[in-house]
């Protein structure tokens, strides 16, 4: 008898087609989020706060109640939702600019308060939707449309290591960084997302997963080259790993 070993997650919207650029990791990341929501049976109890940037599209693909927040304010709106309805499962899906630049105050204070929400943050080292400008995670030396000679310290300073920073907040239950460059790493990424979601369900505190992602269009690279860059450059600076797990007592 045939056994189905692979399928589109039930929670994905019927007939969806990802509209992302070829080689972009948003589709993989959203699929992992969808699989975790399915496996934890969360569809009927979830409210998502979507962000601004390419990540806003999550409501075109994942079939859950959603509120679309202004740029940088997804965590604040998720906080409002969770405080109003503590029994709901509440998560955000944001880019690094949304989460760690314009929304840094909202993100960090929610982490410090230990809001029982989960945040997924895509780190692709630039502002993708607006055409690849320098952002909070743009790497030293990286050329973007607003760092035409590369990110130099004199003009731009340093990029932010988000997962490490948030691991330092006492209200955080789980903080991890994952990569989607290989199949084994995609499996690890899913495990991290699932753990983050489970920690919210257990009421342990704020849970966070930073996902290293390709942005081939704005990086001016082929999908393959872009994933080589994730592995050879990004993962050396933005090192994947679990930076905080209060059940494992792992802390930086």
């Amino acid at each position: 008898m045939a056994t189905q070993v692979f399928k589109v997650p039930d929670i994905m919207i019927d007939g969806f087609k990802f509209g992302f650029c070829p080689g972009c990791d948003h589709g993989v990341a959203m699929r992992l989020v969808a699989e975790c929501l399915d496996e934890l049976n969360l569809q009927e109890n979830t409210i998502c706060a979507s962000a601004i940037g390419c990540s806003v599209c999550i409501y075109d693909y994942i079939n859950v109640d959603t509120i679309e927040a202004p740029h940088g304010r997804a965590i604040a709106e998720a906080t409002g939702v969770k405080r109003a309805k503590p029994d709901k499962f509440v998560f955000t899906y944001q880019g690094d600019g949304d989460f760690a630049s314009i929304g840094l105050a909202e993100s960090m204070h929610a982490a410090l308060r230990g809001e029982k929400i989960s945040a997924i943050c895509i780190n692709n080292t630039n502002y993708g939707m607006t055409g690849g400008q320098l952002g909070p995670t743009t790497m030293v030396g990286q050329v973007t449309t607003t760092s035409p000679t590369g990110r130099n310290l004199e003009y731009y300073g340093y990029p932010m290591k988000i997962a490490e920073q948030f691991a330092l907040c006492d209200g955080v239950a789980f903080s991890a960084r994952v990569s989607l460059d290989t199949v084994p790493n995609i499996r690890k990424a899913k495990a991290a997302i699932k753990k983050a979601f489970e920690y919210q369900i257990k009421g342990l505190g704020f849970s966070f997963v930073e996902i290293l992602s390709s942005c081939p269009t704005n990086w001016r690279m082929t999908p393959q080259k872009a994933h080589d860059r994730v592995r050879d450059e990004m993962m050396k600076v933005f090192v994947p790993g679990v930076y905080k797990d209060i059940l494992e007592s792992k802390q930086v």
Partner: protein, 358 residues
């Protein structure tokens, strides 16, 4: 005030800010989000204790950006939620207010005005009439704006603000000023006098036994945005038809009608009384709803009266709306003061007398 006030028998002597906060609690406000700013900090202080005592939600937000967006998030689940702030910090909320209009969410905002622009000062001012009524957020939108003039009205209009926000599913603001926020007057709370509005058709609860809901403002197609804005402005028309409120005093035979809003109406009424004692035909008119604005009533008054005087603790903001409603039929003069206390009764009387002499 480490008060346990919630419902009270009979009248109590209470500060405007506490009256607003306690009225919000009685109205059924489930979530409060705020950041301190003078002259409204008592609202957050009262809420921090009261909401915890009642098992409701209170968050000391990291900023007014956080506060308004937390309020939006809470309102998206259908509960009554509010934030409160003042002048320069209401400026920070303008982005959120624009989104809340676009999201059609019943966000309640209390604005207790201080002096501006910029940091200004903490003296009473009415310099944020335009900030409230016209708004500083992007795009075409209106919000409901109610302006109390006494502590009792702070209570009554707080109830009304919650009711109208939910009835019309749009943001509503209670626009008070530092004078009202800080003054004590006797007032009666009673029960929340309005019916509960059913939000079950749109609120986010998780997509159980129904299609999922998305509350969003993104409208990538121009046609969609046109449809949405027409719908929004039709709603505003209904508001203008049905929800205009004002306070009038001896306007029927008045040659001169003195118009003001909020706390300034107190001295205006006293000035009108003084004028009547002198045999002068003067009346007072005070909108309680700044949006919807009583355009039709003011137009009527412009047919019966000979002149209108607008008095405000600002450089002339409601003045413009009055002039638009009067549409040039009769002279509209202005007596203002940038910031500080109310304009003295004698100065208003003097101004009225000078308008009669001419």
């Amino acid at each position: 005030m480490t008060t346990t006030l919630n419902k009270s028998e009979g009248k109590v002597l209470i500060k405007g800010n506490y009256a607003i906060a306690n009225a919000a609690v009685i109205a059924g406000c489930q979530c409060y989000f705020g950041y301190p700013i003078t002259p409204q900090s008592e609202i957050g202080e009262f809420m921090s204790g009261k909401m915890q005592e009642l098992g409701r939600a209170y968050v000391s937000a990291e900023s007014e950006l956080g506060a308004i967006n937390m309020t939006i998030g809470a309102c998206s689940t259908g509960v009554k939620a509010m934030t409160s702030s003042s002048s320069c910090a209401i400026s920070l909320m303008q982005e959120g207010i624009s989104y809340a209009c676009s999201d059609e969410l019943p966000v309640v905002i209390v604005s207790v005005m201080r002096g501006g622009p910029g940091l200004g000062n903490i003296y009473p001012s009415q310099g944020d009439y335009e900030q409230a009524v016209i708004g500083g957020g992007n795009g075409d939108y209106r919000i409901i704006v109610l302006a109390p003039g006494t502590v009792q009205e702070c209570v009554d209009l707080t109830y009304k603000t919650f009711y109208l926000a939910h009835k019309y599913r749009m943001p509503a603001m209670l626009l008070a000023d530092g004078l009202l926020g800080q003054m004590m007057e006797p007032c009666l709370f009673g029960d929340y006098p309005y019916p509960e509005v059913d939000n079950s058709e749109w609120m986010l609860t998780g997509a159980k036994n129904r299609h999922r809901r998305v509350i969003r403002s993104y409208a990538p197609l121009a046609e969609d945005q046109c449809v949405f804005l027409n719908k929004l402005f039709n709603k505003y028309k209904v508001l203008e038809e049905n929800e205009v409120m004002y306070d009038e005093y001896m306007v029927d035979d008045a040659d001169i009608v003195v118009m003001s809003f909020g706390s300034m109406g107190r001295n205006v009424k006293s000035a009108v009384k003084a004028c009547r004692e002198k045999g002068l035909k003067v009346g007072a008119f005070r909108p309680l709803t700044l949006f919807p604005f009583p355009n039709r009533k003011i137009e009527e008054l412009s047919h019966s009266a000979k002149k209108i005087l607008v008095t405000e603790i600002n450089m002339g903001q409601m003045l413009r709306d009055v002039r638009l409603a009067v549409n040039g039929r009769i002279p509209v003069e202005f007596l203002g003061k940038p910031v500080g206390s109310m304009i003295d009764i004698e100065d208003i009387v003097k101004k009225i007398e000078s308008m009669i002499e001419v």
